[in-house]
Amino acid sequence: MGLNNDVILQTVSKVAFFIILAFATHLFIGGHHNPGGGFVGGLVVASALTLLILAFDLKSLEEVSKINYQTLGIAGVIIAVGTGMSSLIFHEPFLNQTFGIINLPILGETEYVTAIVFDTGVALAVLGTALSIITTISEDVCKWRQ
């Protein structure tokens, strides 16, 4: 890529990026009771980053953040599998989830769900894998163009 010079797109996506990220966070956290969840959340973040790649190029994104997306995806899978394992410690079957309500100092009565950890793994796996596919392919495109 690197051929992009669309000022409007670049300016808009700079702002839109954060809006999308906020939306993704909302989707992810609210997923327990409202539409959303780890899968969509991760995918929305991936699409936000894809927008940046399209508006600028891969190199600029890599300069800003040096995340290795393969590692991210694998970390997600490990977290997801790990939560499954951790239920074994409490003598529960693999991947058993639980929930309850605790009193937090400021937030008051808050519901906690162990599934959110698993969902984090899902989100990271989806985000990492989707982006690793997109970045490797677009890297390939760059090499071809040269």
Binding site: H33, P35, V40, V122, I133
Partner: protein, 796 residues
């Protein structure tokens, strides 16, 4: 003992840490970090001895997938304990030995110890699992870790060949064993071995009894290198010597023996079992010792000797299974056989482990294992020589070493068996002692070869690659400890019998031992018995043949090449390779349209056929809600965009048309109130469109290059077929309700999972397993794309 069930997982979990040690402490040999694990586990197991000797096995169940009846149940009884002690005890010595054997500057130690710990954990899992499916899982893990360890020096062709051979043969057996397990589980309706044993009488009458038995035996025989599957073991000797000592003499090959012992209560007392196990064991015993004599590579010699000794143990277990044939004399006589099997199992681990370590020392210090180049090492390595003498004399069955005792017991049980009058034994009774006696003569010869050939004779320094130095203490200590045990076991066998053998026998023969819970004390001197005369005959004939070896060794050259099993294995492998290549080339054309047409063809044939056979096409529009105007419009727009894709002249328009279709689908999701689906579809659609655009660059220009009528008609048939079929399915799905809908269950999501969003709670909680595997597959796919493209980039 709530923590005890975790022992299996300690090596597996610790394996994760090993690469960290390897990377961050390069100056310390990684083996030192690993060493505490087997030592600690060994100490743990030692502490369990008194408890288990009181005949109270440890059981602990962790539910894993309870609704499929698969639970991780640890069951530690006498048999498990013996195997556990061997695995951890020899494991500790091997790790210590490997610290001095593998140089930290040269070898990929991180990999080595990860594989080793994986193997150790898997092996502990095999011997302690009560659930057959868990056992199978660990069983295959031992195959895989063994494969990795044999191929540790993967630069060598022989290593790769040996590793592949071992993997193919043992995994073949593993699959057979799995089938056998499933048959048993089907009959008894349980996956637990203990419950299978309780229902043993229910199994015996079944028509699938013999097939199940043969399948399970195939698993055991391949793993324990029984004739004719023994061919993988000599090739596995390409592994580093500590691995040969550990896996291919002391532990992994004993997994098959464990399996036979474990399933004796189920199959024992059956004639087929008796003859198969003892017969194959006897053949292996003879063939192994006969082949060992001709070897010139010290490790190959030891490999064949292992084959032969394993055959002996298997044979003993087969003889011991006669205990179930009926009460009385047979039972009492058979207990001796089982006792001999267990005793020899332990003895074999001690002397074979020490011999392998001795060979490793010779190999490391002189640079060769070739008997034709070795000689006269006695003066240079006196300690090693002593150790070799102790180990091989024990293997030959000479006093005052433990091998003598178990060998005598072996002869006793052979002679006992030949007196029995069951299973048509009266016709074949002399066969067992005679074949075993002959095999023992060859055993004696190869033991003498190991003990004397490298050490006596003339030293030929010009044939050796290295100048001989002193052996480091770390390499001498483990075999010395084992040699110490060899002598100790000879003088105090009854201590072992009391605390280890008795519980093990009662777990191999649960019903029989309760009636008669005592074994005769093991004695070195029985008086002038036939066994003693047999041993004396072996020594006399064996020693004579050893001295005359150069004269008669030509016998081995007479065997034709094609007659060996290795030759057959190679030919078979080649034939399979060629055949599968031919078949694959037939249908793997490299065109996606061909693959799609296969998929669609079977899709149409199978589904349309099923709908036709079941006559399940129904169309009942009366219950439908009325179609509103905007739904109708959306449908029209969908059809229009589909037509746009078909008529597009450039790819970009086709992609945009597809995108339009996707977004219109989202509208449908919104109308039918499925916000989760709509959201996901929205994002997925966007990301895939971007991906399409990225790939656009690579695709050739869209040309209607193929205008043949036949091609067009095929396409038309496929697309019409799939379209009509999906429509029919969608229409009939409404009219056919075969099961109660399961959605009622998920409506309780708030009580069950505390979630108001049912879709999300299904994804992360109710069907979390699906999600986990999905993201796993997704991640693997991503890695696949990454590697394919990266490899492509570097090659260009």
């Amino acid at each position: 003992m709530s923590w005890f069930y975790l022992t299996t997982f300690i090596p597996l979990l610790y394996a994760i840490l090993v690469p960290i040690f390897y990377r961050h402490f390069p100056r310390i040999h990684t083996g030192w970090f690993v060493l505490p694990i087997p030592i600690g586990l060994f100490a743990c197991l030692i502490r369990q001895i008194p408890l288990i000797a009181k005949d109270s096995p440890l059981v602990h169940t962790v539910s894993w997938i309870p609704h499929l009846n698969i639970n991780y149940t640890v069951y530690v009884d006498g048999l498990t304990l013996i195997f556990g002690l061997i695995i951890t005890g020899i494991g500790a010595l091997v790790v210590l030995y490997s610290i001095y054997y593998l140089l930290k500057e040269r070898e990929a130690l991180g990999n080595f110890y990860v594989y080793l710990l994986l193997f150790m954990g898997a092996m502990l899992g095999v011997v302690s699992s009560d659930n057959v499916l868990v056992l199978y899982m660990f069983w295959e893990l031992t195959s895989i870790s063994s494969f990795l360890l044999i191929a540790f020096w993967y630069q060598r062709k022989a290593s790769r060949y040996g590793a592949q051979k071992a993997l193919l043969i043992t995994v073949f057996g593993g699959f057979c064993m799995l089938a056998g397990f499933l048959i048993l589980a089907n009959i008894t309706d349980t996956f637990s071995i203990r419950q299978m044993i309780q229902h043993a009488d229910k199994i015996t009458g079944q028509s699938l009894f013999v097939p199940a038995m043969i399948l399970i035996l195939l698993g055991a025989f391949t793993k324990s290198a029984q004739f004719p599957f023994h061919i993988w073991l000599p090739d596995a000797m390409e592994a580093p010597t500590p691995i040969s000592a550990y896996l291919h003499s002391a532990t992994m090959v004993k997994a098959g023996i464990y399996l036979i012992a474990r399933f004796t209560p189920i199959f024992g007392g059956n004639m087929v079992w008796f003859w198969l196990v003892s017969g194959i064991g006897l053949i292996t015993l003879f063939w192994g010792s006969f082949s060992a004599v001709k070897q010139v590579d010290l490790k190959a010699l030891l490999a064949y000797s292992t084959v032969s000794q394993l055959g002996m143990i298997v044979c003993l277990l087969g003889l011991g299974s006669a205990a179930y044939s009926g009460p009385g004399e047979a039972a009492i006589l058979s207990i001796t056989a089982i006792l001999a099997a267990i005793f020899h199992l332990i003895n074999h681990s001690t002397f074979k482990g020490s011999l392998f370590m001795v060979v490793g020392i010779i190999d490391r210090l002189s640079g060769t294992r070739d008997l034709r180049r070795l000689g006269g090492l006695m003066n240079m390595m006196p300690i090693t020589f002593t150790l070799a003498i102790i180990g091989s004399f024990s293997m030959a069955g000479l006093p005052p070493f433990n091998g003598f005792l178990s060998k005598e017991l072996f002869f006793t049980s052979l002679l006992n068996t030949s007196q029995l009058e069951i299973f048509h034994l009266d016709k074949w009774s002399p066969l067992f002692p005679i074949v075993a006696w002959l095999a023992s003569i060859f055993t004696f010869i190869y033991c003498m070869i190991i003990a004397f050939r490298p050490f006596l004779g003339k030293h030929q320094p010009h044939k050796l690659a290295k100048k001989i130095q002193r052996a480091p203490w770390g390499m001498l200590l483990p075999p010395t400890l084992l040699a110490f045990l060899i002598i100790l076991f000879f003088f105090f066998p009854n201590v072992l019998a009391q605390y280890l053998f008795l519980p093990a026998i009662s777990s191999i023969l649960p019903g029989v031992m309760e009636a008669d819970l005592s074994i005769e004390p093991i004695k070195a001197w029985h008086g002038w018995t036939p066994e003693l005369f047999m041993t004396m005959g072996i020594i006399a004939v064996g020693f004579a043949l050893f001295l005359l070896f150069p004269k008669w060794s030509k016998v081995f050259g007479r065997l034709p090449l094609w007659f060996t099993f290795n030759y057959m294995y190679d030919k078979l492998l080649l034939a399979i390779e060629i055949a599968s290549q031919r078949i694959t080339r037939k249908y793997m054309t490299g065109f996606i349209r061909d693959y799609l047409s296969y998929i669609f063809f079977f899709f149409i044939v199978i589904l349309a056929g099923m709908i036709f056979i079941l006559n399940s096409f129904t169309f009942n529009p009366t219950a439908n809600s009325p179609v509103s105007i905007y739904e109708f419009l959306l449908c029209l727009a969908l059809v229009a965009s589909a037509l746009l894709v078909l008529c597009a002249r450039t790819r970009i328009i086709a992609i945009i048309g597809l995108g339009v279709m996707g977004y219109l689908m989202i509208m449908f999701f919104v109308i039918f109130r499925a916000p989760d689906l709509a959201l996901t579809q929205l994002v997925v659609e966007t990301v895939t469109t971007v991906l399409f655009l990225l790939c656009l660059y690579f695709l050739p220009k869209l040309e209607k290059e193929i205008n043949k009528l036949g091609f067009k008609i095929t396409n038309l048939v496929f697309s019409l077929g799939v379209g009509i079929l999906v429509t029919i399915m969608a229409l009939s799905a409404q009219g056919n309700r075969l099961f109660q809908p399961i959605s009622r269950f998920y409506e309780n999501a708030y009580e069950l999972a505390g979630a108001k969003n049912i879709v999300n709670s299904i994804l992360v909680d109710f069907r979390g397993f699906d999600t986990m595997l999905e993201i796993l597959v997704f991640c693997i796919g991503g890695i696949g794309v990454y590697t394919l493209i990266k490899i492509g980039l570097t090659e260009r």
